[in-house]
């Protein structure tokens, strides 16, 4: 099952994948255990002539322990999953690191507008550069993304980087990622946003350091 996950190319993707994998192993074990017991009981206690069912009400605590103790184990495993996951969540969504590069992503029906601050590092100045549906970032650098929306709710999804975040009009939501492998990765919208939702897509280009410098030179020749 886990092999269906797309290739992970972000620093925190591995943390998310390992949580998914942990849950997968735990739930698979429970699935086979409970379904096994279930099927075993169905076979063992099928109707047979002359055999009367056992009269057990299961109300007394001593009897109910048979269901309460497994439920307690479920709780312990659940809490384990939760606390194991807390770190991964804090890493991705908690405190956003300062970032080597800042990009503003504005969602609108049905495009991603990618805004670069330019050499001065400030948005809203003359050297800003706006691209449609394509983002260029250097590999192994922390990219800080400010997510906005012009109209409806969209969701910024980078499957290969295990990043997803809703873009909500009226809010600026901070996010970040650090890509670990150069390449082209798809950047679809994951929240129903109107008739063009299907096909709202962009590309993230992760460049090796030198190639990224070349791209910067092409767009800001004076810097």
């Amino acid at each position: 099952m886990m092999s269906w996950l797309p290739e992970n190319v972000s620093t925190y993707g591995g943390d998310i994948d390992s949580i998914i994998r942990l849950i997968y192993y735990i739930t698979s074990a429970w699935f086979f255990l409970t379904l096994g017991v279930f099927l075993l009981f169905l076979i063992l206690y099928r109707r047979r002539e002359g055999r009367r069912a056992t009269y057990i009400r299961g109300d007394r605590l001593a009897e109910a322990a048979w269901i309460l103790i497994p439920a307690l184990i479920v709780l312990v495993l659940d809490l384990w999953i939760d606390f194991r996951g807390a770190d991964a969540w804090a890493k991705v969504k908690g405190r956003v690191p300062p970032g080597d590069l800042r990009v503003q992503v504005t969602a609108k029906q049905f495009n991603w507008e990618i805004l670069y601050p330019g050499p001065d590092g400030k948005f809203g100045t003359a050297d800003d550069l706006q691209l449609e549906n394509e983002m260029h970032v250097p590999v192994n650098k922390v990219v800080r993304v400010t997510l906005k929306s012009k109209d409806v709710i969209h969701s910024f999804f980078l499957p290969n980087l295990r990043l997803k975040q809703d873009a909500v009009p009226g809010r600026e939501i901070e996010g970040w990622f650090q890509a670990t492998k150069p390449g082209r990765y798809e950047m679809p919208c994951a929240e129903l946003c109107g008739f063009g939702h299907s096909g709202m897509n962009g590309w993230l280009h992760v460049h090796p350091a030198d190639e990224y410098q070349k791209w910067v030179k092409e767009h800001w020749p004076t810097s």
Binding site: M2, R47, I67, Q109, E191, S198
Partner: protein
């Protein structure tokens, strides 16, 4: 010990049977059993509509932008309509009418030993209100601009302004249909609660109530408590659309996330409004065909109530990535995980019931067992969604679609069919065919899994929900054969319902006449004739002497002991 309220609630005069005309008997009836059947018919009809939408949707996903056989070209605008209306219809106009409306009305008075609901006229009004709501919803397909297309969750701003979807009246009518539907179920819920609390037969204490009554009451209570905020939200959304307010529009100072909080504050309890009645049917069917008391009767009641209470504090797990403060994720993740405990107890109690039983694999039992096994899968896949970090990747993908079909669709299909096959003899006085029923079960089980299990794989592969054409994305193209597979499984799942339709109609007109108690069950409804007459019980209301699940009790020679049977102490 007789309950004075129960005695007072039955006017003597009503016992004299008066002949009512056709209209009052079949259409504008105040009779709880007739109203139950009306809910059932409406729900089954809407299943056909919702199922057809699912078929068109699946075809579009397998063969994007081709002519759908039996429909025609779909395109992205209409695809969004399909997504929206399929969800809305299945949740509000199929699951609730069948599980809550039909069975709540039919079962509660019969199981507690009452002659009818507490407010029969209100009961009639609640059904016909729902009928109007259904007409409004169906009418929305035919207005200019077409039906609603903002998803069944209707997130604003997409749903708050006509320019965002191109749908104006369709979405207004969609909101209106919800409002009418909620009014209907509010009336129904009040009626359920009043009836079960005040009109129980002598001896029917709360801890002798069949569990399905407990589950229906919990469901009705959850609905009553949770729907208020959503009604307020719906009014605000309608005002945003037609009166120029901006409750949810940020450009006018509104807050889009407010809707999500209101919607899911209702939406999560709503899941249990659908699920609990189905759990209740299974709780009734299992002991009858295990010939054994249901394991841990009181624990199940406590678990049900606990799950109900917890369902009010988990709503934000639908919103981990909505832009709400990320620090809220962990508290909601923990409450979400806590709610798995009462449900684990329910499932373990069901499995423990099988232990030491004498299991008869009748059609209703097969569907009940199908529910248990599918609900285990649905519960386990829910843990992926409930974990906030895993949800970053999983949410808004087909994994979620797979998960909620394993829980909700299995509640409606396996729980609902268990109920229909089990109580059909009581409802209509005739038996359904067992062989056809078993064919129906096995085909449904196989194609249910073939349809919904691969959706988890699509989700892990990253396929987003609500996209009309997966081929527009390079990373999804290798997954397309799975989409084709799911589509054909879904079509076969729909075809697998034909044996049921045949069985149902055949059973109605030509089924073997049912005995009073064909399954040798204990609960009170089986003490009434099949079908029960007007006012259910002849001259005397049954008196209850014991709990509902005394099967194979050492008290008697038979392996069942009806709730109303008086056992005189035997002298040796």
């Amino acid at each position: 010990m007789s309950d004075p309220v129960a005695v007072l609630a039955i006017p003597e005069a009503s016992l004299h049977h008066e002949e009512l005309g056709f209209w009052r008997t079949y259409l504008f009836s105040t009779e709880h059993k007739t109203i139950g059947k009306q809910y059932l018919s409406l729900g089954l009809f809407m299943t056909i509509v919702g199922g057809f939408l699912a078929y068109v949707m699946r075809w579009q996903l397998a063969y994007p932008d081709t002519e759908v056989p039996g429909w025609g070209f779909v395109g992205p605008e209409f695809y969004n309509v399909l997504v929206t209306m399929h969800g809305t219809i299945m949740v509000f106009f199929v699951a609730m009418p069948i599980l809550l409306g039909a069975f709540g009305n039919f079962l509660i008075p019969l199981m507690i030993g009452a002659r009818d609901m507490a407010f029969p006229r209100l009961n009639m009004l609640s059904f016909w209100t729902l009928f109007v709501g259904t007409l409004v919803l169906l009418a929305s397909f035919f207005v200019p601009g077409g039906a609603a297309s903002a998803g069944w969750t209707g997130y604003p701003p997409l749903s708050a302004k006509a320019i965002y979807t191109g749908v104006n009246w369709g979405l207004n009518l969609w909101i209106l249909a919800h409002a009418i539907e909620f009014a209907s179920f509010l009336m129904g819920g009040v009626n359920f609660l009043t009836t079960a609390i005040t009109m129980r037969a002598p001896g029917m204490t709360f801890f002798r109530l069949p569990l399905v009554v407990w589950q229906l009451l919990t469901a009705a209570t959850l609905f009553l408590l949770s729907v208020g905020p959503l009604i307020a939200g719906a009014v605000m959304l309608l005002m945003d659309r037609i009166a120029g307010t901006s409750f949810f529009l940020p450009e006018g100072g509104g807050e889009p996330l407010l809707w999500q909080h209101l919607f899911w504050f209702f939406g999560h309890p709503e899941v249990y409004v659908i699920l609990l009645p189905a759990v209740g049917f299974v709780c009734e069917v299992l002991p009858v065909f295990c010939r054994k008391p249901l394991f841990g009767y009181r624990w199940i009641i406590y678990s049900t109530i606990t799950a109900g209470i917890l369902s009010f504090v988990v709503w934000a797990h639908h919103m981990f990535l909505s832009g709400m403060d990320p620090r809220l994720a962990m508290p909601f993740s923990i409450t979400t995980i806590l709610i798995s405990v009462p449900f684990a107890i329910l499932v373990f109690a069901m499995i423990a019931t099988l232990w030491g039983g004498s299991i008869r694999f009748t059609t209703p039992m097969l569907f009940a067992l199908g529910f248990v096994s599918m609900f285990i899968v649905g519960g386990l896949t829910g843990i992926f969604n409930g974990s906030a970090p895993a949800d970053i990747y999983i949410t808004d993908t087909y994994f979620v679609v797979g998960h909620f079909h394993y829980t909700l669709f299995s509640a409606v299909v396996f729980g609902g069919f268990a109920g229909i096959y089990f109580w059909f003899p009581k409802m209509f006085g005739r038996m359904m065919n067992e062989t056809l029923g078993k064919v129906h079960f096995w085909l449904t089980l196989i194609f249910f899994n073939a349809t919904f299990f691969p959706m988890h794989i699509l989700g892990l592969g990253g396929m987003m929900r609500r996209i009309a054409n997966p081929m527009q994305y390079q990373f999804l193209q290798p997954l397309q054969p799975i989409n084709v597979f799911i589509t054909f499984s879904a079509i076969l799942l729909l075809v697998a319902q034909i044996p049921f339709a045949v069985n149902f109609v055949w059973g109605l007109v030509a089924g073997t006449p049912a005995e009073r108690n064909p399954w040798e069950a204990n609960t009170l409804e089986w003490a009434a004739p099949s079908p029960p007459p007007h006012l259910n019980w002849g001259e005397a209301i049954p008196t209850v002497h014991r709990g509902p699940y005394e099967y194979s009790s050492p008290e008697g020679p038979e392996d069942w002991l009806p709730q109303d049977r008086l056992v005189v102490a035997r002298s040796s």
